[in-house]
Symmetry: none
Subunit: 252 residues, 2 copies
């Protein structure tokens, strides 16, 4: 078999430009170059190309792919190293998302970024930390007393409500409706009302930042797999997050 550059590109699902590039950098040379300069490829080249594209889809860089294919590097080892990098990137993104959300909240709260008066000697990283500390510290003051005060029956009932909510969330997520639609919003309302009954949470604080708290909760549901389990898997958690965010934006 002997394919032209376009033929093999179509076979492998890529472009001829990519193949020329791989030739340029020595990653994949044509099996034969005709007198007129045309590139031709055979089955061996196709197999190699398939492996290249597979590894590339996994996010490996072309030099790394080259090493693997030349046998200089162990495939599993290369992928493992790549995995570390992917995870680091994910962590970085998660932190950026948190920062951006907090910044947007601050902006919506009327604060301006970097007011001109505070410029000299002002350190942004401290600003970030300040915002971050607001979560954990205030969150919990008298919750334990409230919980004990519920009594055995009260605790059971509260748990039952939580479970009912969870079931309804799962049903809604699986039914394919939109988080922003009436079903999702009704659930979000129930969810917030349920939360608001608890002293010690920011949601219950009079004048507290309910909106920010609710939105933050949604992010938590997605970030932590423990929630995903309760909401029927990652998709369920995303549904809850989106519904809560829509509700917070509209009603809070």
């Amino acid at each position: 078999m002997d394919w032209s550059i376009q033929e093999i590109a179509k076979l492998a699902g890529t472009t001829s430009r990519t193949l020329r590039h791989y030739d340029d950098i020595g990653l994949l040379e044509p099996s034969r170059v005709a007198g007129n300069g045309y590139r031709h490829y055979d089955e061996r080249a196709l197999v190699r190309l398939q492996r290249i594209l597979l590894l590339r889809e996994l996010g490996l860089g072309l030099p790394a792919i080259g090493e693997v294919l030349e046998g200089d590097a162990d495939e599993a080892h290369a992928l493992g190293a790549h995995l570390d990098w992917l995870r680091q990137e994910q962590g970085r993104l998660a932190r950026q998302i948190a920062s951006v959300e907090k910044t947007i909240e601050a902006l919506e709260g009327g604060e301006r970024l970097m007011a001109d008066e505070m410029f000299d000697g002002f350190d942004h990283t401290r600003y970030k930390e300040e915002v971050e500390e607001r979560w954990g510290k205030e969150a919990y003051a008298s919750g334990d007393r409230w919980w004990r005060g519920l009594g055995e029956a009260g605790r059971r009932e509260w748990k039952a409500r939580a479970e009912a909510l969870g079931r309804d969330w799962i049903a809604a997520a699986e039914s394919g409706v939109q988080p922003g639609g009436p079903e999702g919003q009704a659930l979000a309302k129930r969810h917030v009302e349920w939360l608001t009954g608890i002293p010690g949470t920011p949601a219950a604080a009079p004048g507290g930042d309910v909106k920010a708290y609710v939105i933050g909760l949604g992010e938590m549901y997605v970030a932590d797999p423990r929630f995903g389990v309760n909401y029927g898997g990652p998709h369920g958690a995303e549904f809850v997050r989106d519904a809560l965010r829509a509700y917070a934006d509209r009603e809070l």
Copy 2:
């Protein structure tokens, strides 16, 4: 005040090269250029630079930053759009991580990717589709797929591990031992190991930001009553938080 390019670079925590670049693209011009061509900056320029660097830290591109600073774009809106993109990226990374993990598992199970022998003789296009089915992005297109990919048994086992952990946490919290003691620390270790097996969570990053993530998780357990229920009430959540913090401080 009138700073040289190096002085203002140090003040803002960047480099003179960056400042020249911002000048080149018109993002930040010096307040004054002396007869000898030297750039000089005043307070207004410093404030603008601070805002540029802040927005840049949030991941905005320089053109977008320019629009925000010129008033052509709303700050919150720009950040909101950026947030969407960050979330997409996170999803993409999560899927890649899942794919790479699956691939490594397959490799360790003795399967070779695209073994050369299996190719000769039959239709390559069919072969390619098969490969894509097995390893391609479609196979694990979302975090949801990961969940479903566990299978019924896998999901049950997963839940069982979560519940067992919860029971042991409750028992430990009620027994009155210290979160920093051996029982608490052993549980924290189990907890982290359990989390580390989950693709898509920052906790899965080895050596990266595991520590910050684990500590953050602990705060979440306390902040959200939904967790409190699973851990036997607010006191249980506090116990988990303290144990995780101690563990993170010591071991991570």
